[in-house]
């Protein structure tokens, strides 16, 4: 890693171990440092000492809205850290979610919503876009 381009740290939170392992592998290969957590609780614990450059959170963990709560806490502590919420909620329940309008942004503390199943190229493109901001 050159000095101009220090390795960025991404926090990846999902209760699906396979999702974690696959995206961690891909992100590492793309040059990122990845920290993972399997639950909202573990992630909150990590965030006490860690400030990631960005966070990718699953929406439905043990609590159905675990991702929202986590995003809210994260943004309160680190308002400048971009948050992507990955969720299968649309394919599973048909509910549409997005954080595009101001009204939605006022209570959904996420910069981007990515519906599962995700294409890694798309996730990577969003990460690069959000980190350039």
């Amino acid at each position: 890693m050159s000095v101009e381009n220090p390795q960025k740290t991404i926090l990846l939170v999902d209760d699906d171990i396979d999702f974690l392992l696959q995206n961690q592998t891909q992100l590492k290969a793309a040059g990122y440092h990845v920290v993972t957590a399997e639950s909202q609780k573990d992630a909150e614990e990590l965030l006490k000492t860690l400030k990631p450059d960005m966070a990718i959170l699953d929406l439905m963990m043990e609590q159905v809205d675990g991702g929202f709560a986590l995003a809210y806490h994260l943004k309160r502590k680190y308002p400048d850290v971009p948050v992507v919420i990955c969720t299968a909620v649309t394919s599973e329940t048909g509910m549409e979610f997005d954080a595009a309008t101001d009204e939605e942004k006022s209570w959904i503390k996420a910069d981007y919503f990515l519906p599962k199943p995700i294409r890694f190229e798309q996730l990577l493109a969003e990460i690069e876009r959000l980190l350039k901001k």
Binding site: D15, I17, L21, Q22, S39
Partner: protein, 383 residues
């Protein structure tokens, strides 16, 4: 109270009013479906008027005179009968020739009323038609609900089978693109996870086959007197490797033999499910205790663990298909979510039941009670 809309078609005013008078205050009871039925009457004088009224708002029951001024009752019937119609038609006729009857039935009439008739006769005929209609509706509703449950099951099943496929596909794509380089050992964890997910899927399919076989009654039940203690020992041996891996002791407390009329395969399915759950959801170096006794021809099997336990809320949801208690303590435990549904289905075959008592972080006791003298029900024989 349910009302059936009844259209009376007759060109004689006296007839229309007579029928209206007899039916408008008539209330019949259907004990089979615990329902009271009343009749709302509408009248038509001619075939043309009848067709117009039927097309605008289909009645439940049609009382149709055979002999009408410009078009006959049969012609009306021909024009208004459709296959998906629920309308029940009763033909009123003064000359009930066999030929008329056959034609009317062919065109969808349900019954006949020969002129002249008494109010009692009318009520009897109407009651028969109403009963037929209501029961047909009930059957249709039950079938609808059954289909709904089926659809829901298939949709959840599809999701549950897709999930391991997605995981394995994801790993294969990563390996295919050599994301972590050319050294195979870099992919060891992915290979292990893939195998684990495939095993989970295989177990789910096996459980699913057990469940459908039991449910459909297609599996031939091999009921005979058997000592179930050897079956318990086989199930304990099956669970031994996973129990030893976690340092769990599995103990049996029972008389040396317990005879019951059973299909050994079914008893083994039940025990395998209960014992493997007790091991899976146990803590390391925990304990599983199996108590079996026979009291007044009721065989009770209680499987007690020292594991994560459940809250009352979690226990209450436990026997639903595909439901797995998801929390911090169980997230690394694999399961099909079908095991307890199977146990419950088998218990039902033995006129028995399954119950659970549980305390979080202390453990759970699953108790299954089976009738020791079950014989195949006639329902199962006919299938």
């Amino acid at each position: 109270m349910q009302y059936l809309r009844t259209l009376i078609v007759d060109d004689e005013p006296g007839m229309r009013l007579g029928i209206q008078k007899a039916l408008s205050k008539y209330i019949m009871r259907l004990p089979d479906v615990n329902e009271e039925i009343g009749f709302v009457i509408d009248l038509a004088e001619t075939g043309e008027e009848a067709i117009e009224k039927i097309n605008a708002n289909r009645p439940d029951i049609l009382l149709l005179d055979y002999k009408l001024p410009s078009m006959s009752g049969l012609e009306v019937l021909e024009q208004v009968t459709s296959k998906d119609s629920e309308m029940v038609t009763i033909m009123i006729t003064a000359y009930a020739s066999l030929e008329t009857a056959v034609t009317a039935i062919k065109r969808g009439a349900f019954d006949f009323l020969a002129k002249p008739f008494e109010p009692a006769e009318l009520k009897k005929t109407i009651a028969k038609a109403a009963q037929n209609l209501i029961l047909a509706r009930h059957i249709r509703k039950l079938e609808q609900e059954k289909r709904q449950v089926r659809f829901q099951f298939i949709s959840v099943l599809g999701h549950e089978l897709k999930s391991p496929l997605n995981a394995v596909e994801g790993y294969l794509n990563i390996m295919n693109e050599r994301v972590s380089g050319n050294d195979l050992s870099a992919y060891q964890q992915m290979i292990s996870r893939s195998l684990l997910r495939i095993n989970g899927m295989r177990k789910m399919i096996a459980d699913l086959l057990d469940l459908t076989r039991i449910e459909s009654g297609q599996k031939k039940r091999d009921l005979a007197k058997h000592d179930i203690i050897p079956i318990v020992r086989i199930a304990m041996e099956t669970a031994l490797p996973s129990a030893q891996a976690k340092g769990i002791r599995v103990n049996l407390h029972s008389p040396s033999s317990i005879e019951m009329n059973c299909d050994p395969g079914e008893i083994e399915i039940v025990l395998n499910n209960l014992i493997s759950n007790a091991v899976k959801y146990n803590r390391d170096n925990g304990q599983v205790d199996i108590d079996i006794w026979n009291e007044e021809n009721k065989v009770t099997i209680a499987v007690k663990d020292t594991g994560v336990g459940m809250t009352p809320e979690e226990s209450s949801k436990l026997f639903s298909e595909f439901l797995r208690i998801k929390n911090e303590k169980t997230r690394n435990i694999m399961g099909s979510g079908l095991g307890l549904s199977i146990v419950k289905k088998v218990a039902t075959l033995y006129e028995g039941n399954v119950t659970v008592t549980s305390t979080p972080d202390v453990g759970s006791v699953f108790t299954i009670v089976l009738n020791a003298n079950t014989y195949p029900s006639t329902e199962n024989d006919s299938k």
